[in-house]
């Protein structure tokens, strides 16, 4: 039993505040509400409790038993068994960088490798040791731009085709700061792939322009004109990425992005409601001093041996206090390690192969579904990666319900976040989906549509 205070401690404290017994602390609460009797069932044995919990867990659908075309920011990829095997070793099993970090050279080396892989993938100069998830990384991009421009610019233009959850988290983050105005993601600016209406809003007060690549609808848009317009106006550009897509796409670092961030879950981390996921965050050398979170550097010790250290800590909150760009320094160490193992196992060729499989299968699926009577692929003239939008002849929510009867998770109902996309489904296809699975979805859609 946990006993924080001895009887004597309690007596001393009661005497100090001038009351006779602990119960007197609760005298403000009406008698009938004090210590109510809880109507709990009798206790269970361990075996009975395990059974009950399992039956509750089984009420959830899962991607082992359902055919899954649901993506919208988190994706169902195959995770090699070695990822979990290595990850669960006791030496690694903590989310935290140790408080005396240099004593844990293995942890620091793993983070250093992670940073190096993220830089290579994104085409950026510097990556931090990670954030919580894609949404919090998005919010960190906003804060970084605000501080980099010394709070002199207040307009933050976010594309409406950036994940709606990221946009919500960004707004939550900056709610207390009257100087930051997040705009550009309204229905009027819209989701046209030309980006013209968003570009037109870039001005001398714009601190940051944020886009997603591929965007929330899976589209691959050439952001060069937007990046050029933003830089001409002195604004920074942040690009949210799906890391898997970077196996086949030009990295945003090569087209001039200042900040590249994203959800790292597709890199060997299983789907789970509420995480833990992984926030990727990388910047150019110009922003090196502004990046939040931990940075691990490679150096040599006094005997000339290779060693890893936390570096540039002067920019971090424990030294810079209220002047720091961000007060976040927790990272997702274990998830960053999972993604490092995943990327290392796949290697450059394997990573490209996964990316290419997703791309090819999604294009087969789009062609198949687009051929069904009454169905139309939207934005079909814009290139896409492994996710696409289909307009169906009936409300998407009904369609998804009907598909569950076939053990299919048919996709994401876009009308929830985009009223202009009533009846539209966002469908994701990963390397785990076989051609037969796509044909199954195609046939099921025909059946539920003609019901």
């Amino acid at each position: 039993m946990f006993t924080p205070h001895t009887q004597k401690d309690v007596e001393v404290m009661l005497k100090a505040i001038g009351i006779g017994k602990v119960e007197d602390l609760f005298s403000e609460i009406p008698e009938k509400f004090r210590f109510p009797e809880l109507q709990l069932p009798p206790g269970l044995s361990e075996m009975e409790a395990a059974d009950e919990l399992e039956s509750i867990a089984n009420a959830n659908g899962n991607t082992k038993t359902l055919l899954n075309f649901l993506g919208a920011g988190a994706y169902d990829h195959y995770v090699p068994a070695a990822v979990d095997m290595l990850l669960r070793r006791g030496e690694f099993y903590t989310a935290y960088t140790p408080y005396q970090p240099e004593i844990s050279q293995g942890t620091l080396q793993a983070i250093f490798e992670y940073q190096s892989l993220i830089c290579e993938l994104t085409g950026m100069d510097v990556a931090n040791a990670s954030h919580y998830d894609g949404a919090t990384a998005a919010a960190e991009a906003v804060i970084l731009a605000y501080h980099h421009l010394k709070g002199k610019r207040t307009k933050f233009l976010i594309s409406r085709a950036v994940n709606p959850q990221y946009r919500e988290v960004m707004r939550t983050y900056v709610r207390g700061n009257q100087d930051i105005s997040i705009e550009g993601d309204d229905a009027e600016t819209g989701i046209d792939p030309s980006m013209e209406k968003l570009i037109a809003q870039i001005d001398a007060d714009t601190a940051l322009v944020m886009v997603q690549y591929p965007d929330f609808f899976g589209r691959v848009i050439d952001y060069k004109p937007l990046i050029e317009a933003a830089h001409n106006a002195g604004a920074l550009v942040a690009v949210a990425v799906n890391p898997t897509a970077l196996g086949v796409l030009t990295p945003p670092g090569e087209i001039g992005a200042d900040i590249v961030f994203g959800e790292g879950q597709p890199l060997g981390i299983p789907l789970s409601y509420g995480g833990p996921y992984l926030g990727i965050f990388a910047v150019t050398n110009d922003l090196l001093r502004k990046i939040s979170g931990r940075l691990v550097g490679e150096t040599v010790d006094n005997a000339g041996r290779l060693a890893y250290v936390l570096t540039l800590t002067a920019r971090e909150q424990h030294i810079r206090r209220e002047k720091a760009t961000s007060n976040i320094c927790t990272n997702q160490g274990l998830m960053a390690l999972a993604s490092t193992i995943y990327m290392s196992l796949l290697g450059k060729q394997g990573f490209e192969a996964v990316s290419n499989l997703c791309y090819q299968k999604a294009h087969y699926a789009a062609a198949q579904i687009g051929s069904i009577q009454g169905y139309k692929q939207l934005f079909s003239e814009t290139p896409f990666f492994h996710e696409f939008v289909v307009r169906s002849p009936q409300p998407a929510a009904h369609l998804l319900d009907d598909l569950r009867a076939y053990d299919i998770l048919g996709g994401y109902d876009l009308s929830k976040e985009y009223p202009e996309l009533e009846g539209c489904l966002l469908i994701a296809v990963t390397e785990k989906i076989a051609k037969e699975d796509i044909d199954l979805l195609h046939d099921a859609l025909i059946e539920v549509t003609h019901d």
């Binding site: 010394k150 001093r289 002067a314 920019r315 030294i319 810079r320 002047k323």
Partner: protein, 127 residues
């Protein structure tokens, strides 16, 4: 430790030299020594800014600390020494020379009266 007699000093360790109403500002030898190895300097103001004494001039990071540099006088910033943001280590090597920080066209020469003489500053710091 060097306290040039021709300069004025702020209690927050900045020095000021005035020529024809233009104040040149830097950090003192005492400040660079207390900071240790300076690794980074960032200006909080830019040329053309109207600034007030007591506001933040910049941020200096050393291997062990991050500190504010304070504006000792008010006026319009006429020039910024980019050499310091390019290579902050010169703050350790030459705080009164090549590592000057910025020049300000002063609003009110009387503000100099509030600053310390070399002698008073040395006494303030070294006792």
């Amino acid at each position: 430790m060097n306290f040039p007699a021709e300069l004025k000093y702020a209690q927050t360790d900045e020095w000021v030299r005035v020529e024809n109403g233009i104040a040149t500002i830097g950090i003192s030898d005492y400040a660079q020594d207390a900071l240790g190895d300076v690794v980074y300097f960032e200006f909080s103001v830019e040329a053309g800014d109207q600034v007030k004494a007591g506001g933040q001039l910049g941020q200096v990071d050393s291997a062990k600390a991050s500190s504010e540099v304070i504006l000792p006088v008010s006026g319009v910033v006429t020039e910024i020494n980019e050499a310091v943001s390019d290579d902050a280590e010169i703050l350790n090597q030459d705080p009164y020379g090549t590592a000057w920080l910025l020049k300000i066209k002063m609003d009110d020469p009387a503000e100099l009266e509030k600053l310390l003489t070399a002698e008073a500053y040395q006494a303030f710091r070294l006792g």
